[in-house]
């Protein structure tokens, strides 16, 4: 679906490169569970969707949120809890998780959107810390242990998701849908206004746009899709844990986005793959992981300022 969508040629990809990137992405995604451990691939897809949703804010609206883990994590808890306690069907549980993240995003947004730059980042971080605290303290979230061992259930009541292959293709379909929504948003009239606001906010105001409302909508869409990613991730691991609401996660998504290339459609996904692979690969080094990822990050940012996909895009443009 994405590989044949012609609308991506005009605006967005001009800055970021490579239409065939989409084709490669679709092909790799289809083959992935036969090439790598499926749970790893699913984890990458969920984080890739999360980073892409984050990129909608940072890359296309110019807003740096430092609290996005709240949406990812909270949605995961909500999805699993609605399955466990109320026996909600899995699709509905995912939807509820997503909606809760959107509402949370609305709340964060309304209170933070008038601030800009570092103040915006600080306020979102503050709210995310409140969410972390609530998750830790509330009776139903399992405290330090989180929610564990929740069954994945059956898709539409028919297809069992207990097997990793079935689950993988479900996650993959959701990822593509989320990615497509982001793509649509970037190339919509709304996305056009967002880009204008990022480029020159006072000018957008002087043209009659209430910029706060546009930023708020972007924030809510980003929060909702982050929630969708979080719901899927919790379902994949059949558990919701504090790591996904922790501020480390908010930091990791900034890292993924910058590493892959902010403001490029594919960059965050590439970044998510790299960071997750690195963490997995380095897991045996224990607490050195953070230091090593940090070093890789510094080297990459120094070497590729536009991120990996951004640099690739520039390379392709130069050679034509």
């Amino acid at each position: 679906m994405i590989a044949t969508e012609p609308a991506f040629v005009p605006a967005g990809s001009r800055r970021s490169g490579i239409p065939w990137g989409y084709a490669v992405m679709v092909a790799v995604g289809l083959a992935a569970p036969f090439l790598v451990y499926p749970v790893f691939a699913m984890n990458v897809l969920c984080l890739a969707l999360f980073a892409s949703a984050f990129n909608l804010l940072l890359g296309y609206s110019g807003l740096l949120s430092f609290g996005h883990a709240a949406f990812l994590g909270a949605a995961g808890y909500v999805t699993l809890e609605t399955i466990r306690r109320w026996g909600l069907p899995v699709e509905l549980a995912i939807l509820v998780g997503t909606v809760v993240a959107a509402l949370l995003g609305m709340l964060f947004g309304v209170l933070a959107i008038r601030r800009s730059g570092i103040y915006f980042a600080m306020i979102t971080l503050g709210f995310a810390q409140v969410v972390y605290f609530l998750v830790l303290q509330m009776p139903w979230t399992g405290g330090e242990d989180g929610l564990q061992g929740v069954a994945r259930g059956k898709l539409l009541g028919i297809v069992s998701l207990q097997g990793n292959l079935a689950m993988y293709y479900f996650v993959y379909a959701v990822f593509l849908a989320g990615f497509w929504i982001i793509h649509r948003t970037i190339h919509s009239p709304f996305g056009h206004v967002l880009r204008a606001i990022r480029e020159n906010e006072p000018r957008a105001i002087s043209l009659g746009y209430d910029v706060d409302r546009y930023k708020l909508l972007a924030f809510v869409i980003s929060a909702a899709l982050s929630g969708l990613a979080g719901s899927m991730k919790a379902l994949v691991f059949q558990s919701a844990t504090l790591t996904d609401v922790h501020w480390h996660r908010s930091g990791a998504v900034v890292l993924m986005t910058l590493l892959g290339g902010m403001g490029t459609p594919m960059g965050p996904s590439v970044g998510a793959l790299l960071v997750t692979a690195l963490e997995n690969y380095l897991a045996s080094y224990g607490s050195w992981v953070a230091v090593l990822t940090g070093c890789v990050f510094i080297i990459c940012v120094l070497a590729f300022r536009r991120g990996i996909v951004g640099e690739l895009g520039a390379l392709v443009r130069r050679s034509f």
Binding site: F190, R203, G208, I221
Partner: protein, 250 residues
């Protein structure tokens, strides 16, 4: 004749931490006029623009536009009523193409600016009008250039085209010829003359020959207060004005 006045300020005042940048300014801009606001650097001209368009809240005083008190509106709401400003430094969207710049302004009229599900092709209907506006400022050949690559004079022309896309009733131009070569100045003057038909223009301008050329009425601002008002001949003979401009060109 009060209904002949489209924009009026009463005792408009702005203080920045005790420093009075605009001090009890009374302005009356007649409908259809090209009105100049001049004065030495730091006189408060840009601040007056910011107050008129609500980019800054006034400390006291009122702004009345088409008989309505707009002192408490949000800046975007002021723009939607047809009182549109330009900026002292060129205000474009640098990474968008020239055409896309104008489209941003036209897009609001479609009423789809919140539609995040709609395709970009839906904006194609704006291209005809956008190209027309670009042609009016001789930019149609650059429609697909990334704006940041335009020379400065052309960026200002693009800014005008974008502003005109809103069909503003009152145009506030902050130093439209600043930083331009002689040739570009001539073009902009001709352009302003052209667009002034059916509109009111209030402009800040340091280039006095341009002011003499274009403007019916001139208000001189110095240290936040109105020093003199009248046509060019009257104002340029005013001793208070000459004193305020000591060191500047006559």
């Amino acid at each position: 004749m009060p209904d002949d006045v489209v924009l009026e300020t009463r005792k408009l005042t702005k203080e920045f931490h005790g420093f009075v940048a605009v001090n009890g300014v009374d302005l009356r801009i007649r409908r259809g006029a090209i009105h100049a606001l001049i004065g030495p650097n730091g006189a408060g001209k840009t601040t007056v623009f910011n107050l008129l368009t609500r980019f800054l809240p006034a400390t006291s005083g009122t702004v009345i536009y088409r008989g309505e008190d707009i002192t408490q509106l949000r800046p975007a709401a002021v723009a939607r009523r047809g009182l549109v400003r330009s900026f002292q430094i060129s205000a474009v969207f640098p990474k968008l193409t020239v055409l896309e710049n104008v489209r941003v302004a036209l897009l609001r009229g479609l009423g789809t600016s919140f539609h995040f599900w709609r395709g970009q092709k839906s904006l194609g209907v704006l291209d005809g009008r956008a190209l027309e506006l670009l042609a009016a400022v001789d930019l149609d050949a650059y429609a697909h250039t990334i704006t940041v690559e335009l020379p400065y004079g052309r960026k200002r022309a693009l800014e005008l085209a974008t502003t005109l896309a809103l069909e503003p009733e009152v145009l506030l131009l902050d130093e439209p010829t600043a930083g331009m070569g002689r040739e570009d100045v001539g073009l902009v003057v001709a352009l302003i003359q052209k667009i002034s038909a059916g509109r009111t223009i209030l402009m800040v301008e340091h280039n006095l020959p341009v002011v003499a050329d274009l403007c019916d009425t001139i208000t001189v601002l110095a240290r936040g207060s109105v020093l003199a008002e009248g046509n060019y001949a009257e104002v340029s003979r005013d001793p208070a004005v000459l004193e305020a401009y000591i060191g500047a060109e006559p």
